[in-house]
């Protein structure tokens, strides 16, 4: 079973419906100890990075423990940002720190450099795949997915796909069995469901 961590940052109905549609079983861990049985963990979330402070030390240690035991982790939107060391959005609130780097606000581009863009970044944009990774198996580079966010993760060695909105940012990351997507796979049509299927497949593999 896959643990869906609800730390009250946004509504998870759509995420639940999408996993149900691909035949994956989710459960709600009420306490960190409930993660002991998780085959995989999903950290969703929209809104402010500060909301992740609800994931206190007990949760952080339990999540790190499952990852250390070889179980896959998927961060969605704010959940991707939380995989990093932190974010300018809430400087006093550390991230999970599984990936190096820190998140920052989109600059909105400039009139001189390709034109100004609106922030927040809302709508369908393409992902340019930089390297093969299990989380993007079967997805062509240039596929369009649905975004809604103002903060982004930096492009690093963990970046799988890059998206451009005034500047390039990491739209898909993966290091080992830790993956994240800045967009909403539950709202990205067939492309999004393929991403979720790739994650669910990994959750069914033995450690």
């Amino acid at each position: 079973m896959i643990a869906l961590i609800d730390y009250k940052a946004g509504n998870l109905t759509s995420v639940r419906k999408a996993f149900a549609a691909i035949g994956a079983e989710l459960y709600d861990p009420g306490a960190p100890g409930d993660l002991d049985i998780a085959d995989a963990i999903v950290v969703p979330g929209v809104g402010h990075f500060g909301a992740t402070s609800a994931l206190d030390r007990g949760w952080v240690e339990a999540i790190r423990g499952r990852v250390a035991a070889g179980r896959p982790l998927l961060g969605i939107c704010l959940g991707l940002q939380w995989l990093f060391a932190g974010s300018d959005e809430a400087p006093d609130c550390p991230g999970l720190g599984l990936l190096p780097g820190s998140c920052y606000r989109l600059s909105g581009g400039s009139a001189e450099n390709g034109g100004a863009v609106k922030v927040p970044h809302v709508g369908w944009n393409n992902i340019r795949i930089q390297r093969d990774a299990p989380i993007v198996a079967g997805i062509p580079s240039g596929a369009q997915v649905y975004f809604t966010h103002s903060y982004v993760a930096p492009v690093t060695l963990d970046t799988v796909a890059v998206t451009e909105h005034g500047e390039p940012f990491a739209s898909v990351v993966q290091r080992g069995h830790v993956a994240g997507v800045q967009f909403h796979p539950e709202k990205s049509g067939e492309v999004g469901l393929t991403i979720l299927r790739n994650f669910v497949r990994a959750s069914r593999e033995p450690c």
């Binding site: 946004g10 419906k17 927040p120 970044h121 709508g123 369908w124 049509g189 999004g192």
Partner: protein, 251 residues
């Protein structure tokens, strides 16, 4: 590059899709879940379900409609019409809406915008503005276009953004259902005044109307109903037309 979104609006009454002209004279256009499926196959980017009567009894039918659409379509779904309170919004969200659209309630109780943005995030809060030309400016109307709100559309859009709205759904009452084109000056004025996306609505009648609203109108998204419902234009042929004019779309 961020695509310009094409959004289909389903005006729902008693579980059926209906469409009028200048907010009046309704005729039926079919089952919402069936239309939603068709649009999804054709590549629609987003759906809006507007409950245009919204009595208590019909509210339950609306929840069933939302649920039926959200169960099988994995694209953004907004719901509006008659959302007056936090509880109304919560019911729509629990049924599967990703966004709620506030109109009259936002005007009479602007704090509701902030309450919902804090609870669900700004991305979940759309403020719908119905505007009509008034001299040099654009006057805001409440209650499905029936009463003047005594506010200017540009100024109200700015305030809605400041209070936490994530998008503006801007409808021209003058153009609604007329098929003579979007009100591009209205859309451009609001789009330039806010940094959140502006969805243009009202007046779509030809493919080039969409080209105009995405260029001169500076819209981030365009919404239409009748042009799609009666299969006058498919979503796909509209998007191919836009792409041919250099406008980025999801195909």
């Amino acid at each position: 590059m961020l695509s310009k979104r094409i959004i289909a609006c389903l005006d729902v009454r008693n579980g059926h899709v209906v469409k009028g002209v200048n907010f009046e004279g309704l005729r039926s256009a079919g089952d919402p879940a069936e239309l939603a499926r068709r649009y999804n196959t054709e590549g629609i980017d987003e759906l809006v379900i507007l409950d245009i009567t919204a009595t208590l009894e019909q509210r339950r039918a609306l929840a069933e409609t939302i649920h039926a659409v959200a169960r099988e379509l994995f694209i953004p779904l907004a719901v509006g019409g008659g959302i007056r309170t936090e509880a109304d919004a919560a019911a729509a969200v629990e049924a599967g809406a990703d966004k709620v659209s506030l109109n009259t309630a936002a005007l009479s109780d602007p704090a509701l915008i902030t309450t919902l943005a804090e609870r669900y995030g700004s991305q979940a809060v759309v403020v719908a503005i119905d505007a009509k030309r008034a001299g040099e400016g654009f006057a805001v109307y409440a209650r499905s276009g029936q009463s003047a709100a005594g506010r200017d559309a540009v100024e109200w859009a700015r305030e809605a953004e400041a209070r936490g709205a994530g998008e503006i759904l801007l409808t021209s009452i003058d153009r609604d259902g007329t098929k003579v084109g979007f009100d591009c000056p209205l859309t451009a004025a609001v789009s330039a005044a806010v940094s959140i996306p502006v969805i243009a609505s009202g007046g779509a009648g030809s493919l080039d109307h969409f080209v105009e609203v995405f260029t001169a109108g500076r819209a981030d998204a365009a919404l239409a109903a009748s042009i799609f419902h009666y299969a006058e234009t498919s979503v796909r042929s509209l998007k191919e037309h836009l792409q041919g004019r250099g406008i980025p779309v999801r195909l």
